[in-house]
Amino acid sequence: MSRAFVISWYNRIPPAERTLPIIMYNGKVYTPEEVYREVMAGTRLGEALQAKIERLRASHSYALDDLKELDYVAKKRVEQVIKNLPPDFSLVAIGANGKRIYRPEELLKTRFFEKAVEREKKRVVKLLRG
C-alpha cells in the first residue's frame, strides 16, 4: 500500500469517524487520524500500522487474535462516542416496565451498548476495506 493509497483511504473515511479508534497495534488503539499522521511522517509506527491495515484489508477471514482486537477496538469506539455525549443527553426505550430512560453513563450497561459494539465491528471492517 503506497502513501497515496493511505491518503485515499483516509479521505474516504467520514470526517466524524476519523477520531474514533480503527486499529490496534502492540496493545494500543489508533484512530485514522493517528494512522494518517504517522504514515505521512514516515515513522516506523506508521509503516507498521500501514502494513497491518494492508493485511486486514486483504484478508477474507480474520485470525482469532484479530477478532479479539476487532472486538476491543469496537468497544473503545462505542465507549468514546458515549463519553462524548452531553451528560444530560438521553435515549429512551418505550417498554412498559422498568427504567427506560438512559443517560450516557447508563448506556454502557445496556443491550444498546452490546448491540452498538457488534455494529461497530462490522463498521470497522468496512472502513478498513475502504
Partner: protein
C-alpha cells in the same frame, strides 16, 4: 384506494417521551390526508377513548405509540390497553402498526392469530433520542435543543428514529403488499443512516449524538418484525430484518476454526428510495 387510518397519539408516558413519536406521526397523517386517505387522529387517548373510536370509525389501519412489553401495550400515562390474553377485538380485520417496545415478541403474533390482518412491531426495545422534558420541553419535532446541535441536524436526530414504522404504514396505504412495505421501511432506515453518516459534524459532541442516533436506527431496524395472516386458516407469516445474516453469523461463530469470515451487512442500500 382510500384507506381509513386511525392514529392513537399518546404523548405522556413517564414523562412526555411519547410525543416524540406522535409529533412525527402527525406529519405523516398530514401526508396521508393529502394523498386522499381518511385519517383520524386521537390525541392522548385513554384505553376507553381508543376503543370507542375504533368502534365508531372502524379503521383499516391503527397506528399507536405507547410503552410496551412482550404481551401488552399501553397508551397515555402507561394505561394498559391490550394484552395478548385478551380477545384483541381492537385489531381484528385491521393492520396494526405498533410504535412500541417488545410487542413483536408475543402481542403481535397473538393479534394476527386472533384476526388482525398484519402487525408491525419490535422484538426488542425501540430506541430514540429524547431531551429531559422537565428542563427542555420543546425538543420534540423541533429544531430547539439544549446541546448546541445545529437546528437542522437536531431535527434529524430527534425525528428519524420514528420514520420507519410510519414509512411502512405509508407504503401499505399506497398499495404495496406487506412484504414490499416492510422491505421498504428497512431500506428507508438504511437511507437515513447513510444520510446521518454523511453529515460533517461541527463538534465531537454533535458527532457522538449523530452516531448514537445511527445505532438507534440500526438497532430498531434489526428488531423490526411483521406478522401477517396467510391464506390458510390460522396461518401466520413472519417478516424480520436481518434474520438471514443473524443465522449465518451464528453458524459462523459456532465453527471451531481459528478464523471467521466477515459477512457484509444485509443492508438495502441501492434500492430505489425517494427522498422523505
Amino acid at each position: 384506494m382510500t384507506v381509513k387510518i386511525l392514529f392513537l397519539e399518546s404523548e405522556h408516558g413517564r414523562y412526555s417521551e411519547l410525543k416524540y413519536a406522535s409529533c412525527v406521526a402527525r406529519m405523516y397523517a398530514d401526508k396521508l390526508r393529502r394523498k386522499g386517505h381518511r385519517v383520524y387522529e386521537i390525541s392522548r387517548p385513554t384505553p376507553d377513548e381508543a376503543n370507542a373510536k375504533i368502534r365508531e370509525l372502524n379503521p383499516d389501519v391503527i397506528w399507536f405509540v405507547g410503552h410496551g412489553d412482550p404481551d401488552r401495550a399501553t397508551l397515555e400515562n402507561i394505561q394498559l390497553w391490550v394484552r395478548s390474553t385478551n380477545d384483541l377485538w381492537q385489531f381484528r380485520g385491521r393492520i396494526v402498526v405498533a410504535h412500541s417496545c417488545l410487542t413483536g415478541i408475543e402481542l403481535g403474533k397473538s393479534a394476527v392469530a386472533k384476526g388482525a390482518v398484519a402487525y408491525f412491531g419490535y422484538t426488542d426495545e425501540m430506541w430514540f433520542v429524547w431531551c429531559d422534558e422537565s428542563k427542555y420541553p420543546n425538543c420534540a419535532c423541533s429544531k430547539e435543543n439544549p446541546y448546541g446541535v445545529r437546528p437542522e441536524v437536531w431535527m434529524k436526530l430527534v425525528t428519524y428514529p420514528h420514520y420507519p414504522p410510519l414509512e411502512f404504514l405509508m407504503a401499505v396505504a399506497e398499495g404495496r403488499d406487506f412484504k414490499e412495505a416492510f422491505d421498504y421501511s428497512l431500506a428507508v432506515t438504511d437511507k437515513l443512516v447513510a444520510e446521518l453518516q454523511s453529515i460533517q459534524p461541527s463538534s465531537q459532541q454533535e458527532a457522538s449524538m449523530i452516531k448514537v442516533t445511527e445505532w438507534a436506527l440500526e438497532g430498531n431496524r434489526d428488531d423490526q418484525v411483521l406478522y401477517k395472516r396467510t391464506a390458510e386458516v390460522g396461518g401466520i407469516e413472519t417478516e424480520k430484518a436481518g434474520s438471514l445474516s443473524k443465522a449465518l453469523a451464528l453458524i459462523m461463530l459456532s465453527l471451531p476454526a481459528v478464523g471467521l469470515m466477515i459477512i457484509g451487512g444485509g443492508g438495502n442500500a441501492g434500492k430505489n428510495i425517494p427522498n422523505i
